[in-house]
């Protein structure tokens, strides 16, 4: 009986070990099929990222081609028509592989800023799980903040 237990335990350890070796995706921090978004912002170009230590969140600013091109070449907020920015915000979690790092946990909000012919860009806020459009009560401040962000510099 004891022997059987030992064998079973060893088998479980071995099998779970194999499972771990397979792949290592941060599924939880990703956009899921259930989310009500028209495109996957994580597939756009990263412009810069920021951290909010008091909320333990981290955000990446993504842009479509037009927005990214603008961010790369012009250091201003006057994105041209057709530019789309997404500010994706994650809850942070401790990196289990490196004490000293925080990495993305679940997405808590996605904000979309779309530049149209109008002077004021269109703003959408997605929240909840799965992500769906929710209303925002400080839309103007958020737009101002998002478009004020500059590309992280590299030589």
């Amino acid at each position: 009986m004891k022997l059987l237990h030992t064998i079973i335990i060893i088998l479980i350890i071995l099998l779970s070990g194999c499972g771990r070796n397979k792949e290592n995706l941060n599924e939880k921090a990703s956009v899921s099929t259930l989310d009500k978004l028209s495109e996957n912002p994580l597939l756009l170009s990263p412009i810069t990222f920021s951290i909010n230590p008091s909320k333990a969140t981290m955000s990446t600013l993504y842009g479509n081609k037009i927005a990214f091109q603008h961010a790369k070449t012009k250091a201003d907020s006057s994105y041209p028509e057709g530019a789309v920015l997404y500010e994706v915000t994650w809850k942070q979690k401790a990196d289990s592989l490196w004490y000293g790092a925080n990495i993305p946990d679940q997405i808590i909000s996605i904000e979309k800023v779309q530049f149209t012919r109008n002077t004021v860009p269109k703003y959408e806020l997605y929240g909840g799980h799965p992500l769906k459009k929710v209303s925002s009560n400080n839309q103007n401040a958020r737009i101002a903040l998002i478009i004020s962000k500059r590309i992280a510099v590299t030589p």
Partner: protein
């Protein structure tokens, strides 16, 4: 029975004879001072668990001095000192000392240090939960930013201006690394695989993946990563804004891992490269500087030496969506 005794006697004689064969003498016991600026409690833990191989003060047990054990011990000590020597502590600058302690702590957490065979024979060197938490609490105090704690907002005049006065225009002039890898200027156009907030040293990183990497992620083929994968990691200084948030400050460095199982067989299937600063100076003093990269990435060897768990960049799903639109 008599025959058995004879064999035993021969073995014993051989064993005794063996004892005259010793590894080259290493300096065993030059006392190592306590690590300067480090609390006594932390010093004691490191002394007990690590100093035998990582300082010039060695306290060996009697069985460590017996041939052949002494050969193994001697090689551990020589290699260990080469990798990290706490007797040289005072020669390191403060940020390097802190980085060393974070590195050391992560080697303990990953179970690599102290070396398992040594810990099995020297149970006192094993770190118990209390020692781990003593080290962790201490590291929290020396982290450049306290993990998940509010930072005082910067006054508007103190917010650092990040100016890149001279963007490099001709990347072909950037020197290759000593292991012969040329600079890859294109990574800013790649997708973000993940981000990392390094409160230990006050930096922040975007990890980028090239097209092959992104495809591998979409197809769940990341262990091992396919040949042609390139991962790039850019580090910026954390810069505090007036609202207490942190944004990307000055550029520190960019590092690459280039997968080619054959070409880079000797370095775990990856080509390793790093360029530092606004003038993109290649990192490394010799062609095998990449051993340093591999040593630190070793705990994740079962992940093909990659730390980052990529965001799931599923392209297909959204392509389907676009088609039905």
């Amino acid at each position: 029975m008599k025959k058995g005794l004879k064999i035993f006697a021969i073995l014993l004689a051989a064993f005794i004879a063996l004892q005259f064969w010793k590894p080259e003498e290493i300096e065993y016991s030059i006392p190592t001072k306590d690590l300067h600026n480090v609390p006594a409690e932390v010093n004691t833990i490191l002394r007990n668990s690590c100093f035998d191989c990582h300082s010039s003060t060695v306290n060996l047990a009697w069985f460590d001095k017996i041939t052949p054990a002494n050969f193994i011990v001697a090689s551990h000590i020589t290699d260990g000192r080469k990798a990290l020597n706490f007797s040289d502590w005072d020669k390191l600058e403060k940020p390097k000392q802190n980085a060393t302690l974070f590195y050391a702590f992560n080697k303990i957490l990953s179970g690599e240090m102290p070396i398992k065979s040594y810990a099995a024979l020297h149970p006192n060197a094993k770190l118990d939960d209390r020692s781990i938490s003593v080290l962790k609490n201490y590291l929290t105090t020396i982290a450049v930013r306290k993990p998940n704690q509010e930072v005082p907002p910067a006054a508007a005049k103190d917010v650092e201006k990040v100016i890149l006065n001279k963007k490099i225009t001709d990347y072909s002039k950037v020197k290759p690394t000593l292991n012969n890898i040329s600079y890859i200027p294109d990574f800013r156009n790649w997708k973000a695989v993940s981000t990392s907030d390094r409160f230990d040293n006050g930096s922040m990183r975007i990890i980028y993946g090239n097209e092959i990497a992104v495809k591998a992620i979409a197809e769940h083929q990341t262990n091992p990563w396919p040949d042609g994968t390139i991962l790039a990691k850019t580090a910026w200084k954390q810069k505090t804004e007036v609202d207490g948030t942190i944004s990307a400050g000055a550029f520190i460095q960019v590092e690459f891992m280039i997968k080619d199982a054959k070409k880079y067989e000797a370095t775990k299937g990856w080509g390793w490269a790093r360029w530092k600063g606004n003038d993109l100076k290649p990192y490394g003093d010799s062609a095998n500087f990449d051993q340093e990269c591999i040593s630190c990435h070793n705990p994740v060897k079962n992940n093909d030496y990659v730390f980052t768990a990529p965001l799931h960049l599923d392209i297909n799903k959204f392509n389907i969506y676009n088609k039905t639109k």
